[in-house]
C-alpha cells in the first residue's frame, strides 16, 4: 500500500463510518465493492440508515464494483484527480449498476486528509509529476541528454529526465552515466528553490547541493522546463472547501475574538460540503468535523459552490441569505463578526499573497416569458389534440405526410393542403434510451432517468414520417424498434383529462396489446 498526497487508500475506507451521512443513504439497500489495485478490496454494505465497510477478498453480491489504482482512487477522493476525467478516460471504472453507485457520493462527507498543508514530499511528487508537462521543446532544441535529480532527505528520491528530439521522458532511478546529475542533500531545499524562496547558487556554494557532469545543462534548466507552479488553476469546489477549512485555524485572529466563547458550525451542503465547527475560547481556535448539540451560531449553506464564491469574494453573503440559499441559526451577531474573527481566505493560486486585483465572475439568471403564435396550420394540429385526434397534412406532389403538420413540404416547396387524420396508435421505429438527462433550461427541471423518447410511425403514415413522444416510464425496457418490414412495438397515446392544445395533451405513449 502506497501513500499518495500523504493519504493511503485504507484511510479513506477507515473513515467512512465517521463520514457517513444518514440523510444521503435514505432508501438505499445495496452492497458496493471497491477493487483498488495494489491496496486490496473492500465491501461497503448500506442499509437505509446504517453502513458497514470491511476489507475482503470476496466481492460477490455487490451491485457495483469500482475499480481503480491507488493513485486514482485516492486522487479522486481527495480532489487531486479530476473525477470526470478519470472516469471518462477509464482510469476509474464502474462495473454493474452505475445509477445506484452514484448515490454513494451523497452518502459520505468529503474525506479530509489529516495533513492539510502540502508537505515537502507532496511538493516533490507534484514537481516531478508535472515535469514532462512543463517541458519546453524550444528550450531544448538539439539536446540529447539525461538529467538526473538525486534528492535526499524526507520526500526525496532519484528521477531522471531523458531529453531527445524535442521530447522529454521522466523515469525514476538513474542511468549509468547521466549527462548531468544534480545532487541536493535535503528535499526541502529543492522545494524552496523551485518555489523561488532560495536561489540555487547559494545552495551550491553552501555545499548543500552539487552538480556532476555537464554544468551548462543545469544552468539551462530554466529554459528546458517551464517554471514550477503549485497546482492552482484546477481548484474545484471541493478543493476550495478543503483548503478553506484547512487554513481556518491559521486565519484565526485572536484580536478579533477577544472575550469570545463560542462554537461556530459551518454546515455546507452540496458536492464538496460537510460539517465543521470552530471552537473559540480564551483567544484560541480549534476546528473539528461535525457539530456540537447546540452551537452558538450555525451557518447553513445549501451549496458548497456558493460558499466558495462568498469566500472568494465573488458573491456577497447577504444575497445568498436573501435568496434562501443560506441561513443562520443561533446568534446572528457572531456570524456578522466572522470577518474580524478570521482573516480573509486567500486561495493558493495567489501564491500566499492577496491578489491585487480580483477576477470576478458575474452571475445572471434570465427568466423570460415567451409567447409563440402557432399560425393556422400548427394551430389546427394542436387544436385537434384537444379532441384526442392527431392530424397531418400530405404533400400533393410527393405524398409525404408531416408530423406535426407543416405549412409546406420542404422538399417539394409547395403547400401541403390535404388534411389527414392518422393514428393515434402506431408502431415504434426507434426509441432513444436516455440515461443522461440534460436539464431543461426553460424550467430548470431534470427528467428522471432513464427515460425513453419514441419515434412512432402512426397508423396511416409511411416511411420516415414518424412522430416523437415519450414512452410510459415503466415500459422502456419492453420496447422493440422496427426496421424495414419488421414492425416495432405497438403503442397508443395516453391522453390527459384536461387538454389545452399542447403536445403534452398526450401524457405519453404506452404499449398497446
Amino acid at each position: 500500500m502506497t501513500e499518495y498526497w500523504g493519504v493511503k487508500a485504507e484511510d479513506i475506507f477507515n473513515t467512512m463510518k465517521d463520514r457517513f451521512r444518514v440523510e444521503g443513504a435514505k432508501g438505499v439497500d445495496a452492497v458496493f465493492g471497491y477493487d483498488i489495485e495494489g491496496a486490496g478490496k473492500w465491501k461497503l454494505t448500506v442499509k437505509n440508515d446504517s453502513m458497514e465497510v470491511e476489507k475482503t477478498d470476496d466481492l460477490s453480491g455487490c451491485v457495483t464494483i469500482m475499480k481503480a489504482n491507488e493513485e486514482n482512487f485516492i486522487g479522486v477522493n481527495i480532489g487531486k484527480v479530476d473525477a470526470t476525467n478519470a472516469f471518462m478516460s477509464g482510469k476509474v471504472k464502474l462495473e454493474g449498476d452505475m445509477g445506484t453507485f452514484g448515490k454513494t457520493t451523497k452518502m459520505f462527507k468529503k474525506y479530509v486528509p489529516a495533513k492539510k498543508v502540502m508537505g515537502t514530499g507532496d511538493y516533490i511528487q507534484d514537481m516531478f509529476s508535472t515535469l514532462v508537462a512543463r517541458f519546453q521543446p524550444q528550450g531544448a532544441s538539439g539536446l540529447d541528454v539525461s538529467i538526473t535529480y538525486n534528492i535526499g532527505g524526507e520526500g526525496g528520491g532519484v528521477w531522471t529526465a531523458y531529453i531527445k528530439d524535442g521530447k522529454c521522458e521522466l523515469k525514476t532511478g538513474q542511468p549509468d552515466k547521466p549527462t548531468t546529475k544534480l545532487n541536493v542533500n535535503e528535499a526541502k531545499d529543492w522545494v524552496d528553490v523551485m518555489l523561488g524562496k532560495t536561489d540555487p547558487f547559494s545552495l551550491l556554494s553552501a555545499g548543500r547541493a552539487s552538480i556532476e557532469g555537464k554544468t551548462e545543462i543545469a544552468l539551462k534548466l530554466g529554459e528546458i522546463f517551464a517554471k514550477y507552479a503549485p497546482k492552482i488553476k484546477e481548484f474545484t469546489t471541493k478543493d476550495y472547501i478543503l483548503d478553506m477549512f484547512g487554513t481556518l485555524v491559521q486565519r484565526f485572529q485572536p484580536k478579533g475574538a477577544a472575550d469570545l466563547d463560542a462554537t461556530i458550525t459551518y454546515d455546507i451542503g452540496g458536492e464538496g460540503g460537510g460539517k465543521w465547527t470552530a471552537y473559540i475560547k480564551d483567544g484560541k481556535c480549534e476546528l473539528k468535523e461535525g457539530q456540537p448539540e447546540k452551537p452558538t451560531t450555525k451557518l447553513c449553506v445549501n451549496e458548497a459552490k456558493d460558499w466558495v464564491d462568498v469566500m472568494l469574494g465573488k458573491t456577497d453573503p447577504f444575497s445568498l441569505l436573501s435568496a434562501g440559499r443560506a441561513s443562520i441559526e443561533g446568534q446572528t451577531a457572531i456570524a456578522l463578526k466572522l470577518g474580524e474573527i478570521f482573516s480573509k481566505y486567500i486561495p493558493p493560486s495567489s501564491g500566499g499573497e492577496a491578489e491585487k486585483e480580483e477576477l470576478l465572475v458575474l452571475k445572471k439568471t434570465i427568466s423570460v416569458n415567451q409567447r409563440f403564435a402557432t399560425g393556422p396550420i400548427m394551430g389546427r394540429f394542436l387544436n385537434a389534440l384537444k379532441e384526442k385526434k392527431i392530424f397531418t397534412n400530405k404533400c400533393p406532389k410527393c405524398g409525404r405526410v408531416h408530423l406535426p403538420a407543416r405549412e409546406v413540404c420542404a422538399e417539394c416547396r409547395i403547400p401541403a393542403t390535404e388534411w389527414l387524420e392518422v393514428g393515434p396508435k402506431g408502431q415504434v421505429r426507434y426509441m432513444e434510451y436516455v440515461y443522461f438527462s440534460s436539464p431543461d433550461p426553460l424550467t430548470g427541471e431534470t427528467r428522471e432517468t432513464p427515460y425513453g423518447m419514441l419515434n412512432i410511425l402512426l397508423d396511416g403514415c409511411i416511411g420516415n414520417d414518424t412522430f416523437a413522444h415519450l414512452v410510459r416510464r415503466d415500459q422502456i425496457n419492453l420496447i422493440k424498434n422496427g426496421r424495414n418490414d419488421v414492425a416495432g412495438t405497438r403503442v397508443r397515446p395516453v391522453w390527459n383529462e384536461k387538454r389545452v392544445g399542447s403536445i403534452f395533451d398526450i401524457k405519453y405513449f404506452e404499449i398497446d396489446e
Binding site: F87, M378, V434, F436, S438
Partner: protein, 399 residues
C-alpha cells in the same frame, strides 16, 4: 444547383487560435477573442489597419448575448471597419470561412478576417440547443445534442461487437492526436489496450452513445485571415488556397432516422460531397485528399460520416478506422488536431477545422503535423439538425 467560378483566387494568410479549455474565467469575451486576433495578425505579419472587413460569428444566444459583435468590437478590432455577423449553428465557423472567401473573391475587399468564438461556460449549451427546436411542440421532447440513433444504426448494420469497437477505436485515435496538439481541450492519454475496457465500462448517455464518445464543451476562439491572390502572395510565403466550398441545408427536423430502406433519407454530408467532387472533377476523394479535418461531435457519427464524405461503400469506412489508416501517418489522416471530440468551442469549431487543414498544408502544425507533404485538404462543418459545409483547400493554384 448553379455554381459559378470565383472572380478572384483567395488564400489563407493568417491563422490564430486560443487554447481550448473548459474554463476561461481569466478573460472576458472580447479579451479571449483578442488573443486569437493578435495571434492571427502576428502569423500574417499584419496590423489591424490592414484588415478591410471582419466577419464574426458564434452560436446564436448560447451565451444569451444579443449581437455580441457590438460588445466584441473591443477585441475584434472591428471599430470603424466593415463588419458582418454570421450565425448558422454548428456550421457557423465554416460559414464564416465561406463568407470571407466570397467577400474577397467578389472583389469587394482584399483582406477579410473571420472570427469564430464561443464561451460555452458563460451560457447554457443544452439550453441553446433546446432553444433551437421548434417551440410549438418539440422543445420539451428533445434530448439536447445527444442521440443514440447512429450507434443503433451501425450496430444494426455491422453487429454489436464490431460497431462498438470501431467507435471507441476512433475515439482513442482522436485522443492520440489530441495529445500532440497543445491547443486541445481534452487529451486523456488513452491507450489502445483500453479499447475493450472503455467499450464495456464507459457510462452510457443515450442508447449506446457513451460518455467517452461525446465531445466536450469548450471555451475558445479561432481567427483566419483571407486575402486575394496578389495580396496573399505578397504577404505570405505559404498562402493556402480555398479552392471551393459547398453548403447544404435540410429543413429543421430532429427526426433523421431512415429505418426503412424503401424510403431512404437524403444525407446532407453525402449529397454535399457528391456535388463538390463532381464540379471539381475529383473521381477518388480518398486518393485525392491528403488530410481531412472533420467536424466530429461524437465518434459514432464520425465513423459513419467517413463513409459519406469519401463516398465509400459497405464497410470500407470501418476498415479505415480499424486499420488505423485515419491516424497521422495513415492513408487518410483524419483530425490530426484531435478533432471536435477533443475541443468544441462551437462557434469556432468549424473554423478550427479549416485553420488546422491550412496549417497541415503549410507544414506548420507542429507535433501533430502529418509527416508526408500535404497538398490537398478537406474540412467539414456540421450543424443545425443536418447541415453540411465542405471546404477544399489547396497548396498550389493549379486546378
Amino acid at each position: 444547383m448553379s455554381h459559378r467560378k470565383k472572380n478572384r483566387n483567395v488564400g489563407i494568410i493568417g491563422i490564430g487560435q486560443t487554447r481550448f479549455s473548459s474554463h476561461r474565467e481569466d478573460v472576458n469575451q472580447p479579451e479571449m477573442i483578442h488573443e486569437a486576433v493578435s495571434a492571427a495578425l502576428k502569423d500574417a505579419g499584419l496590423a489591424m489597419k490592414d484588415i478591410d472587413c471582419i466577419v464574426h460569428g458564434n452560436m446564436e444566444l448560447f451565451e444569451m448575448v444579443h449581437q455580441p459583435d457590438c460588445w466584441h468590437t473591443l477585441g475584434t478590432g472591428a471599430y470603424g471597419k466593415e463588419s458582418f455577423r454570421i450565425t448558422t449553428g454548428g456550421t457557423v465557423g465554416a460559414t464564416l470561412s465561406c463568407a470571407a472567401d466570397n467577400l474577397v473573391a467578389s472583389g469587394m475587399y482584399d483582406i477579410v478576417m473571420a472570427i469564430g468564438f464561443e464561451k460555452l461556460q458563460e451560457g447554457h449549451t443544452t439550453g441553446g440547443i433546446t432553444n433551437m427546436a421548434d417551440p410549438l411542440w418539440f422543445r420539451n421532447l428533445q434530448t439536447g445534442a445527444l442521440t443514440g440513433s447512429k450507434a443503433y444504426d451501425m450496430i444494426s448494420e455491422f453487429g454489436e461487437e464490431r460497431a462498438k469497437k470501431a467507435s471507441v477505436m476512433y475515439r482513442i485515435i482522436m485522443d492520440k492526436h489530441a495529445v500532440k496538439n497543445p491547443m486541445a481541450h481534452r487529451a486523456f492519454g488513452l491507450e489502445f489496450e483500453q479499447l475493450d475496457d472503455l467499450v464495456r465500462t464507459s457510462p452510457k448517455l443515450v442508447g449506446d452513445l457513451k460518455l467517452i464518445e461525446m465531445c466536450s464543451q469548450s471555451d475558445g476562439a479561432c481567427v483566419v485571415i483571407f486575402a486575394e491572390e496578389k495580396t496573399a502572395k505578397k504577404i505570405s510565403k505559404k498562402p493556402v488556397w480555398i479552392r471551393d466550398h459547398i453548403t447544404v441545408h435540410r429543413e429543421e427536423t430532429f427526426i433523421l432516422f431512415g429505418y426503412d430502406e424503401k424510403h431512404p433519407v437524403p444525407m446532407t454530408h453525402r449529397f454535399a460531397a457528391e456535388n463538390l467532387y463532381k464540379r471539381n472533377n475529383i473521381k477518388e476523394p480518398l486518393e485525392y485528399f491528403d488530410v481531412f479535418e472533420m467536424y466530429d461531435p461524437a465518434s459514432w457519427w464520425a465513423v459513419d460520416w467517413i463513409r459519406d464524405f469519401f463516398q465509400l461503400k459497405d464497410d470500407e469506412h470501418l476498415k479505415l478506422v480499424e486499420n488505423k489508416e485515419i491516424m497521422i501517418g495513415g492513408k487518410m489522416p483524419i483530425n490530426p488536431s484531435g478533432g471536435v471530440i477533443a475541443s468544441n468551442p462551437i462557434g469556432a469549431t468549424a473554423l478550427v477545422r479549416i485553420a488546422e487543414a491550412a496549417l497541415q498544408i503549410r507544414g506548420d502544425a507542429g507535433d501533430h503535423q502529418i509527416p508526408t507533404e500535404v497538398k490537398h485538404a478537406l474540412a467539414s462543418g456540421f450543424g443545425g439538425t443536418m447541415w453540411t459545409v465542405l471546404t477544399m483547400l489547396e497548396k498550389d493554384l493549379n486546378w
